[in-house]
């Protein structure tokens, strides 16, 4: 119990350090530049306290419980002793790493669903679109995008192909989709690329990438270990755009089958 309390206090002071410049900026502008007192100041202060305490507990719990386990699992799954039966000669072919891709997909999906920043943006999107964009649907679309991206990213590390080819192809797909997707979703889709990779996802992905790059001969942990985050930022853009395209297509098919096709799509 005592070490846990110690961890909590430690993380709390780190979180406070971390957000002090933001809080300072906010209050300076509110009171010195704009000279407009905050409405419901006590409610806001309580809320701010909840945000800081919540983030602290969240991080402590992740670091104490979930990261060590995720770390250990990533190492075990990429360990040649798990991949090859005793006596078998390790070949390090990409087919041998099937469980790694499945794990990468599953953990990419699961961590994205729990990502607090994504929850925030999804709530906001549902709110201002008056329910036209569903927070749950958006989060699922982003999670599927991250999951796919991370799985492909692991395949890239195993197969040793170069990062920029994948990224260029992914952005070409994004460009083509941008030209045809409903206009309303585009800014949100681009935003979800940046949102996905914060507190929860990054450390687990880094462990997975490093585990892969350090056990496969010929891969360098420093050059190949990085880059999974890039995958996790591009693929959600594709999946959110696709989600909007599919919903728009389904609505059109339902409502007006005989009408002429719209030019926009």
């Amino acid at each position: 119990m005592i070490p846990l309390l110690h961890d909590i206090l430690n993380t709390l002071s780190n979180t406070l350090d971390d957000i002090a410049p933001i809080i300072g900026t906010l209050f300076f502008f509110q009171y010195v530049v704009l000279k407009r007192p905050l409405i419901n100041l006590d409610r806001i202060l309580i809320g701010l306290f909840m945000v800081i305490l919540g983030l602290t507990l969240f991080l402590v719990g992740l670091e104490d419980a979930i990261f060590p386990l995720g770390d250990a699992m990533a190492r075990q799954l990429t360990d040649p002793a798990f991949l090859y039966a005793p006596g078998e000669v390790p070949t390090y072919l990409w087919q041998d790493y099937l469980w790694v891709y499945v794990f990468a997909f599953a953990i990419g999906f699961a961590t994205t669903v729990a990502e607090p920043a994504l929850i925030a943006v999804a709530l906001k999107a549902e709110d201002i679109s008056a329910g036209a964009i569903s927070a749950f649907g958006l989060r699922m679309a982003v999670a599927i995008g991250v999951a796919t991206g991370v799985a492909i990213g692991c395949f890239r590390i195993v197969s040793g192909t170069s990062l920029w080819v994948y990224i260029v192809v992914a952005y070409v797909v994004v460009l083509l989709q941008t030209a045809r997707a409903p206009k309303m979703i585009i800014p949100l889709a681009f935003d979800s690329g940046g949102v996905t990779t914060s507190t929860v996802t990054v450390p687990l992905l880094a462990a997975l990438g490093l585990g892969l790059a350090s056990t496969i001969p010929g891969r360098s942990p420093v050059l190949d270990g990085f880059g999974l985050i890039a995958f996790a930022s591009v693929f959600p853009i594709i999946s959110v755009l696709a989600y909007a395209q599919i919903s728009a297509w389904m609505i059109r098919r339902q409502s007006s089958p005989p009408k002429e096709e719209e030019n926009a799509l």
Binding site: D18, P21, I22, G24, F29, Q30, R36, L38, N40, L45, G47, M50, V51, L53, G54, L55, L57, G61, L62, D64, A65, I66, L69, A72, L77, W99, F103, A106, F109, A110, A114, P116, A117, I119, A120, V121, K124, A125, I128, S129, L163, W164, Y171, L175, K183, P187, F190, D191, G194, V195, T196, T197, S198, T199, V222, L223, F226, G227, A230, S233
Partner: protein
């Protein structure tokens, strides 16, 4: 009595929401640990305590989000739109981006790692001082770029520029720079875009953009309000590559 029940109900609902959000992580861990790796879950007691912390933390965060972070961002956006002082608005936008990034722990960690990589490749001399200078320069260029990105994003909302052109232009620039940038910086540059947008920054920046777009006539909150985070993940890639070109050559 009724108010106690209501209070209980109000505090249980966010907990249930958090439980739903965290269930996939639990399922993945249990399934892989028992069915694929055939191993028991180590330190089950510790795991459970940690998981309860995560659960309570997420519930508190989401609750605080709606009663503090969103209103602060929107209040400020409305006040700026009402006061109409462009200079202060742009300064605020820059500081919000710069201030939240320069102190970001994820960025500090990545910058230190990047310095090790560069020293290992003998691009900078392998002593503590030059590694620190390199890491600080990296952090500064990322923080400057995030500040600038939020500033440009706010100008975009005010002017109503279409976002896709900015994004597409930015990515074309990145693709054009990649072949010329030193190998050791590319992976870090691409990742720098992702790590800069932290959990506290995202809700504030989203609320600022949407607040501005809703209080300016002729702007659509959905079309114009989003996009700040996208720019804040794009510009750091450009700046880190420029930094790599200048410092590593």
């Amino acid at each position: 009595m009724n108010s106690i029940l209501e209070a209980m109900h109000r505090s249980i609902r966010p907990l249930l929401g958090a439980l739903r959000d965290l269930a996939p992580i639990l399922i993945v861990i249990v399934v892989f640990q028992t069915l694929v790796l055939h191993q028991p879950i180590p330190n089950l007691g510790n795991m459970l305590v940690g998981f309860l912390c995560v659960l309570a933390g997420l519930a508190l965060f989401v609750k605080g989000l709606e009663s503090a972070l969103f209103p602060i961002g929107e209040n400020l956006a409305n006040a700026f739109a009402y006061k109409g002082s462009l200079f202060w608005l742009l300064l605020f936008a820059f500081l919000l981006g710069f201030g939240t990034t320069i102190a970001e722990p994820a960025l500090i960690a990545i910058a230190a790692k990047a310095a090790d990589v560069a020293a290992g490749a003998a691009l900078i001399s392998n002593d503590a001082a030059s590694k620190e200078t390199y890491a600080d320069g990296l952090r500064l260029s990322v923080a400057l770029s995030v500040g600038l990105a939020i500033l440009i994003g706010v100008i975009r909302i005010l002017r109503g520029w279409p976002l896709p052109w900015l994004i597409v232009g930015g990515y074309l620039l990145i693709e054009a720079m990649t072949p010329f940038a030193p190998n050791e910086i590319i992976g870090i540059a691409y990742d720098a875009g992702g790590v800069t947008t932290s959990t506290i920054t995202v809700p504030l920046v989203a609320a600022l953009g949407i607040g501005l777009a809703s209080s300016i006539q002729g702007r659509n909150p959905v079309l114009d309000g989003f996009g700040l985070i996208a720019l804040a993940s794009l510009l750091p890639m450009v700046f880190v590559m420029i930094y790599g070109l200048v410092v590593l050559g």
